[in-house]
């Protein structure tokens, strides 16, 4: 009897201001000059109205309607929570209400949705995870059991570190690169440590996240009963549907029928006697690993490549990434603690995502999310800010 494990990533980056080379070294307050608070406020309000508030409401109603049999999980990034606290505190109450039903699990991740798991030392990664941990504790009084890294970035080293930090499970992409012929619908364990790995069923996840409104897709139009039938015919222990929360009402607009799909999904799924819903923690507790996975090179759920080339695929991105790491070393040496938060906001992976020069379909997706006209503009802006911060760090 496969269990359906639905998990939503909830994240908003702190987007940057236009920052020219002439601003470098001017010594104006970095927090107010680096970040475009007006734009960020506007986008956050917009997405909250279109997605967060209505979707939370629907999920709460569904959990009540199905008496807790409909179960879901969230990871809320630190930058997202900061937005809520600043602009829409009632949104936090809404998540608290969801959590209080007992049908909702919360995951751990890096507070800043960063690439710190790819740094040479793991200390910054560990600090950011702890920050996230404290935030979840403060707001929800909860200790997450399962970890998910930024955009499901995963390799053996990360798995080992996360396992050492005491987490019982970790999420990543169910790509053939690590599974070969094996199914993602089971729990696995890493070759080098003891933690359970939940693998995203990317076909079924992307059916909702990417293809839902694609008219040239044979599955169109996707209805809840059709989708539930697909899930019911799956083999295995667990079907992991890991989806961007903004899919609901933002990436897929209300007109596509995405909310109706969501409203009918639990009922249609539970009609199948062989399906039930579990949270990520329950999935990890209930199922035993059926095999090992060995991941020496980092994978992720991003782009067709399913690796870290989304953020580190060209030399502009690598140059920024190296600057970022270098600034961190300098900041920690010089003990300028007041700049740490700013530096960490700059670590949010989205800033590197905007500099991707991938072509074709992935490129279109990048362009959709980017506040810049072109990756080159993104690079100039981000690099200028990094140069300014670097001067302050010494």
């Amino acid at each position: 009897m496969p269990s359906v494990c639905i998990y939503f990533e909830v994240h908003q980056p702190v987007r940057l201001n236009r920052f020219s080379v002439f601003n470098i070294g001017r010594n104006i307050d970095p927090y107010s000059t680096y970040f475009n608070h007006e734009l960020n406020h506007w986008i956050f309000e917009k997405v909250a109205k279109k997605c967060y508030l209505p979707t939370n409401k629907i999920l709460l109603d569904l959990i009540k309607e199905y008496d807790g049999k409909f179960r879901i999980s969230f990871s809320l990034t630190g930058t997202f929570i900061e937005y809520c606290e600043r602009y829409i505190p009632s949104l936090i109450d809404s998540f608290k209400e969801l959590f209080a039903t007992g049908a909702v699990d919360l995951l751990e991740e890096t507070y800043f949705h960063s690439l710190s798991s790819l740094y040479d030392d793991m200390d910054e990664f560990e600090e950011q995870v702890k920050m996230h941990n404290q935030m979840i504790k403060r707001i929800f009084n909860y200790q997450p059991k399962v970890f998910r890294n930024t955009e499901a970035i995963y390799d053996n080293r990360i798995a080992k570190k996360v396992s050492e930090m005491g987490y019982k499970g970790i999420l990543t992409e169910g790509t053939e690169k690590i599974l070969n012929w094996r199914s993602p619908n089971y729990v696995y364990k890493p070759v080098n440590c003891d933690i359970k790995v939940l693998l995203r069923n990317y076909n079924l996840s992307d059916d909702v996240g990417f293809r839902f409104s694609a008219r040239n897709w044979p599955g169109y139009p996707l209805t809840a009963d059709k989708y539930a039938n697909w899930m019911a015919s799956c083999q295995g222990d667990i079907i992991n549907l890991f989806i961007d929360y903004e899919t609901f009402g933002e990436h897929q607009w209300i007109e596509t029928g995405i909310f109706d799909f969501l409203k009918h999904l639990p009922g249609e799924t539970l009609k199948h006697g062989n399906l039930d819903f579990v949270t990520t923690s329950e999935a990890v507790n209930r199922y035993k690993p059926v095999g090992d996975i060995d991941v020496p090179w980092a994978i992720s759920w991003a782009d067709e490549d399913r690796d870290v080339s989304t953020w580190l695929g060209n030399n502009m991105q690598v140059a920024c990434f190296n600057e970022l790491k270098d600034i961190g070393r300098k900041l920690k040496e010089s003990g300028k603690k007041d700049l740490l938060h700013t530096w960490r906001l700059l670590q949010t992976s989205d800033h590197l995502y905007y500099i991707s020069t991938k072509g074709s379909q992935d490129g279109d997706v990048h362009a959709y999310f980017s506040p810049y006209d072109a990756p080159y503009e993104g690079f100039i802006n981000y690099m200028n800010i990094l140069q300014d911060l670097k001067q302050r760090a010494i």
């Binding site: 060209n314 030399n315 100039i380």
Partner: protein, 370 residues
């Protein structure tokens, strides 16, 4: 198929992109088996064809510099006379059976219209720039506009070098958009050389091309990047003013004015420049940007340039935004990964911009009217 093409410049004599376009187009058309007779004013230079079915036919005896603004009444008078004389000569000299008459810009339009009426062959005109572009949208001259409008109205099909230009033709000349095809320009790649710390402007020194914005950006850049030279290449009516401007701004030691360059010199400067800036106030296409990119030079172009709507791997600015232009120039000089990415990806993308493709699209237009 046999085509009478009426032009006014052809390498080695050329003042702008029109000559480059005619050169690439006629040779590629000839390669596709089209017989092309290319008519142009007689020049001091010897112009020759290297294709069997492409014949260069020189008409008349005076060179015409169509991009110079005829401010002076006396010169202006001579200029207009010369234009009329050339058009009359064309009507007399173009003989024989042609499937298509093809004109480029206003200068040969009168002859094109007359020849269409005389021979009954369909008329195709390519618009490389309009009077609005050449005047930088300041005081456009009605005399040119009337000629352009008549030609556009009587043409069977119009080829515009960009969507930008198509829009001007529709909005300012009242032409039906269905009659206009957009065919982007192309380039014979120049190839990369040993790059030096040179920021390059290359184009006619006229209001249209925005050289004064380049100088103002150069001033700003020079305050931050001490080891950098600026080259203003090309000739034009604004040259004396620009030299003065550089002196006034105190950057005359940083700026080199080259005057008019030969083809070989143009290639050389493109090969050695590190950054190319095209700050045009109005730019229907901007072939020089493609030339720069084909020489591995990252290019900053005006947002309203036709080339910038067709080309992805370049930087874009508003021509009046000096600070942003300087920001991008400095970024290119400082950040090697940015420079390399634009140079490499630009060279790759430029492979799509071939004269062979231009000839194919032009042939489609011919076939549509014959």
């Amino acid at each position: 198929m046999k085509v009478a093409m009426l032009g006014w410049e052809y390498p080695p004599f050329k003042a702008g992109g029109l000559g480059t376009h005619c050169y690439g187009l006629t040779r590629s058309l000839a390669d596709k088996g089209v017989a092309v007779d290319f008519y142009m004013p007689k020049t001091k230079h010897s112009t020759a064809s290297d294709r069997k079915n492409l014949v260069i036919k020189e008409v008349g005896e005076t060179e015409i510099f169509p991009y110079d603004r005829p401010d002076d009444k006396a010169i202006g008078g001579q200029f207009f006379d010369a234009v009329y004389r050339y058009n009359d000569l064309l009507v007399q000299k173009v003989k024989g059976k042609y499937d298509v008459i093809h004109c480029h810009d206003w200068l040969t339009m009168k002859a094109g219209v007359a020849l269409k009426e005389k021979t009954g062959a369909p008329l195709v005109i390519t618009i490389h720039s309009t009077e609005y572009d050449r005047s930088g949208w300041l005081n456009p001259n009605q005399w040119f506009i009337d000629i352009e409008k008549e030609g556009m109205q009587k043409a069977d099909k119009i080829i515009a070098v960009s969507q930008f230009t198509k829009r001007v033709i529709v909005e300012n000349y009242g032409i039906n958009p269905n009659k206009i095809e957009v065919v982007y320009n192309a380039v014979y790649p120049i190839g990369e050389g040993e790059k030096q710390n040179i920021v390059l402007f290359l184009g006619r020194l006229t209001i249209q091309k925005g050289p004064e914005f380049f100088l103002r950006a150069a001033k700003k850049v020079s305050e931050y990047e001490k080891n950098c030279k600026f080259v203003v290449a090309g000739a034009g009516d604004m040259l004396p003013r620009l030299v003065d401007q550089a002196v006034h701004m105190g950057i005359s030691d940083k700026v080199v004015f080259t005057g008019a360059l030969t083809d070989e010199e143009v290639k050389h400067i493109h090969r050695t420049a590190s950054v190319y800036v095209m700050p045009s106030v109005s730019e229907p296409f901007g072939i020089t940007a493609l030339e720069a990119i084909s020489a591995g030079t990252p290019t900053i172009m005006s947002k309203n340039a036709g080339a910038s709507e067709a080309f992805r791997n370049c930087l874009r600015v508003d021509f009046w935004d000096i600070d942003e232009m300087a920001n991008k120039i400095i970024s290119l000089l400082r950040y090697t990964p940015l420079h390399t990415a634009l140079a490499d990806r630009g060279k790759k993308e430029i492979e799509l911009f071939t004269w062979d493709r231009v000839a194919d699209r032009t042939l489609d237009v011919y076939r549509g009217v014959t």
